[in-house]
Symmetry: D3
Subunit: 241 residues, 6 copies
């Protein structure tokens, strides 16, 4: 059985990352993974949240949003409803945790970086695209701070990217699009470093529990998939120098 898109099991969707799309942000990246498109910005403020005051370290936080018509049916605007959904909360906590793992917070100093990830078009994998794009926006913002003399050395300690994998009718496959995602038996999101370390794993059985063997295969696919993302991130950042 083949995948709906005709892709091979270990084949990523086309990825492109456009640096600097948001002109006012200290760093920004518009990432496209197939039909999924997320605008990621990094904003810097020279203060930290109350629980970190006087501790001589910085902080990284994230917010995630989806334009109401990024999806097949229009979703209610969270600003109009007056509350963010549980899904939004879960995703933005994941993005922030993941990106904090890429940075030496002590080296940041008393600085807060907010990563905004707004989905313009959605076709599956928006949280993973957000993380991959946010890393580029973050790296660009830190580079700018360094060039402006506000940071002596780069606090960036890891290159990270994220990808989803899943067990579908076509077997274990890489980089699920919306159709695959909505009918998968299980799916997992992996946040990995370029050195091969694991930053975050979220695996969920949708229709039936899965085995350790299956899970190991998903992790292997994720390693393949992020390799391509690491290259795309580095290419996007070449525009900086």
């Amino acid at each position: 059985m083949t995948r709906p898109s005709g892709r091979a099991a270990d084949e990523n969707r086309a990825v492109s990352i456009e640096l600097g799309y948001a002109r006012h942000a200290e760093g920004s990246a518009l990432i496209r993974m197939g039909g999924t498109e997320v605008l990621c910005t990094a904003s810097i403020e020279y203060r930290v949240p109350p629980f970190l005051r006087g501790k001589g370290q910085g902080w990284i936080t994230a917010e995630y949003g989806m334009l109401p018509r990024a999806t097949h049916a229009r979703g209610n605007r969270e600003a109009a409803k007056g509350r963010q959904s549980g899904r939004t909360h879960e995703i933005q906590r994941l993005i922030a945790r993941a990106l904090r793992a890429a940075v030496d917070l002590k080296a940041l100093g008393e600085m807060t970086i907010t990563l905004d990830c707004d989905v313009l078009n959605a076709d599956g994998g928006t949280r993973c695209a957000s993380i991959t794009g946010a890393w580029v926006a973050l790296a660009a913002a830190l580079d700018k701070q360094q060039k402006a003399g506000k940071l002596k050395r780069s606090p960036l300690i890891a290159q990270i990217a994220a990808i989803s994998c899943g067990l579908t009718a076509a077997g274990a496959v890489l980089d699920l699009d919306y159709i695959e995602d909505s009918s998968a038996q299980a799916d997992a999101n992996f946040v990995l470093t370029a050195e091969g370390g694991i930053v975050e794993i979220q695996g969920t059985a949708e229709t039936a529990p899965f085995s350790e063997t299956a899970f190991t295969e998903l992790l292997r696919l994720a390693r393949c998939g992020t390799a391509a993302l690491f290259v795309a991130q580095r290419q996007a950042l070449e525009g900086l120098s």
Copy 2:
């Protein structure tokens, strides 16, 4: 005294309108006016709000948002704050009123069209760009409904566009960018039809009251400015046929 941008008093910023940017929406347009960029989508639902049920007519509503980092300093995300600002309310009510003037609501039938205008980059004039872009998204959505046989005839009764004008240190000028807008003595937003009718006028003294003569000059400039927008709207829609 010349304008900060070097433009002539009656000179628009460059305008471009990209049709279909949001792939899932019934109609969409990404409008750029200089450094201002707004993604407008039209979403159709086959029901009407409670106050219109059984009255045999449709409805058009609008929502407006600005990505947190569309501006120089990051703004708080309204979804996270849990409420939309007064400014957001004021703008989305204006957009909806303006677009309702373009449509025969009886001819729509029991259908609600929601126009979402999300600002990706802001450099002044976002509410006017939203109206101009939303008209294109609306026209595209109605065209699609007609082609699908869901509407016998087009309920579109007017082509509308909007532009801001203001009294600045350089005199009465057209299409203010952010720098001009933030220091103008007075500014006014005009929503006009291609036939020359007035749909909405909002004129506000910022630092001193203005005269009827000055206001008449602003309206004259607005007629110039919208002429170019009407052309850009029609060109964008040529992609439909």
Copy 3:
């Protein structure tokens, strides 16, 4: 065709302004325009909002509310719903902008004046009555500050009043009541100064676009209508000395 009320096209409704209705406020005015009745208060605090701190100027803000049964059918109480409507936001922003145009904010010093306009009975034109009444409350509050030696000179730089006009079945008419307002082809609210300057214009096509000629006629009517309001404001303030 005559107006529902039998008034001439350029005839205001009876206006009365009662000074000092709210005993605790620094300034207050209960304004009645026909069946519309609004209680306006001016409250003074010796601090400014964060964005103005240390800038040596004051601020004027406004809040608007309607008692639940000020209208034909009971409206939901906004405090109980937990959010103010878009209409409320739009109106209170208009009131605040208009009144700021009446005051030299530098001369105020670090002082915030909040204008509360609460509609007790509604019969059209509540936002205009709010502005006209709020100016009286504001003038009374400033007079009190001056007499108490807290202001060396009056920061009041203009007398302002507001009135609505509209295109109805009876032609262009002045000071619309609810019946006229709900069936007008177009209506416009004008905030003018006693010297004839324009502070704010809000013109909206309800059922069809209108022409520049029609708009000019509405402005002419507004000048007639505000003349009577300026007199009523000054008479109300005579009670101060």
Copy 4:
């Protein structure tokens, strides 16, 4: 020791009740008790809340509000804060419970009456004035329904009024104003029927527990005080016939 106002211990403040102040409401009363002034309206809807559907009875509910500048210092507008205070909740629950005791809910049929009590000026005793005024608004609304043939017989089964009493430096006193209320050792609100029945008692020690004897004296004072209120209510309703 005399009372700040010079009143005798068992002396009410002047009371006046103006019927029909809110022109659109089915019933309304503007009640003044000394410097306290509350606009009470009764609004009728021909439906009941979900928990009463199909039970063949009606419902009475209440909402309470205070205009921001009814008091010495401006209070935040609850609609702007987005939530009603605990005090507001407590008071509006009391008003509703009290008024339900005045009505045969079965005889009402499937009808909801909402009593809105909005304080225009506050000088102590606003919850009691609200109850006394709301009874007049309610009686007027029911009379109107009866005259319109929508109720065969009056569902009004009791005349109720409310008054506060307290233990102050001047001893046990009736109808506390703000100064007395804010320094009382204990105060109590009594809702009584014209036949002498007790509908609600709320007694609270503010600075020290009180004795049963003292409480009995407060109840005696309340009986004196409500006698005058029952007369004022009946006089106000004479305007109906």
Copy 5:
């Protein structure tokens, strides 16, 4: 006619108070009165709310909650609804007022004690059980502060407890359970001190007004009922020394 539970008119339900159930709190008590079970905690912070800053006194506040399934039918979680009900507000204000009467706030110093009362199982009388249990949690927390040398002397000036009484088909009875409470003609909650003083009285007619005589009988029953509670409170605190 006998009570549904078979208890005598002046018979309390079995009461037990377990000290220290919440391990992290400065003081805590799990109180059971028949089928009603409330976990009460006292939390200490060395600061006071803004309105008390610099006044050299402390503050006591309370919050009340009910687990969603403490009752027969699951209630909506207030945290999920985003607002506390009027009932919750009313009860937590009562708890706080009652407990403040037990403490010399001057002797507390700049300290805030928050009493959290969370109902695990409900069978009538939850607000009274909350007050009785909160007093034990409060006493334990104060004892701990004294032993730690943070208070020179105990600021506790009274022992207080609360109980409900009502007029039911079985006459005037003590300590209503849910069945009695939901069908009582009238009920009253009494907060009393061990010395016999009255701290708070809340009497409400549910189906018909009641007489002074009946009320006096309810107060007599309350004195019986609280006697047993005062013993249980003291026994629970014996575990402290």
Copy 6:
């Protein structure tokens, strides 16, 4: 290096599960894992959320809360703040997903089961204890439905339990308490079935990325830990028959 508690690396904390603690719920369990204590209830309603209407299947949802003083420092009550934290959203989504994996939703029919998990005392691992306890509450509620003839066969298709593991100064360890959790290099929560299937994996690097090898060791520990939990669950349910 030994663990702070002195436990062996693969040693669980003492677990106890008390069935039926919440008397009104269809099913309930009070679970204690060391110093962590969670009251879990299962509530049944015979309707489904809108998105499932008419699809002939049931639904399982979950809500999570923590009593304000379940922790070392009092946390703000979410009901009082008016919004649930991102952490709360993330946890309750996890609980619901996990438990849905234990049930054949088709076999449930049009029934919604809400699992409330309220933390009474917290010492790490509250989300895992919630899942393990909720499974018992769920099983009890389904058993009751079956005995009442409302379900022909049990829709329970798996026994599930959850446990946390982490990389600490003492190496890879099982069932982290608060002290271990707050200083772990990485931690992971595992939801497993008694048959050995994986329902959910959430692994997070806190201070440094971890390796696949380390992760595999954490999974091995989780299998040990859940074995004891499956026994405790079955013992608790023996009380049913």
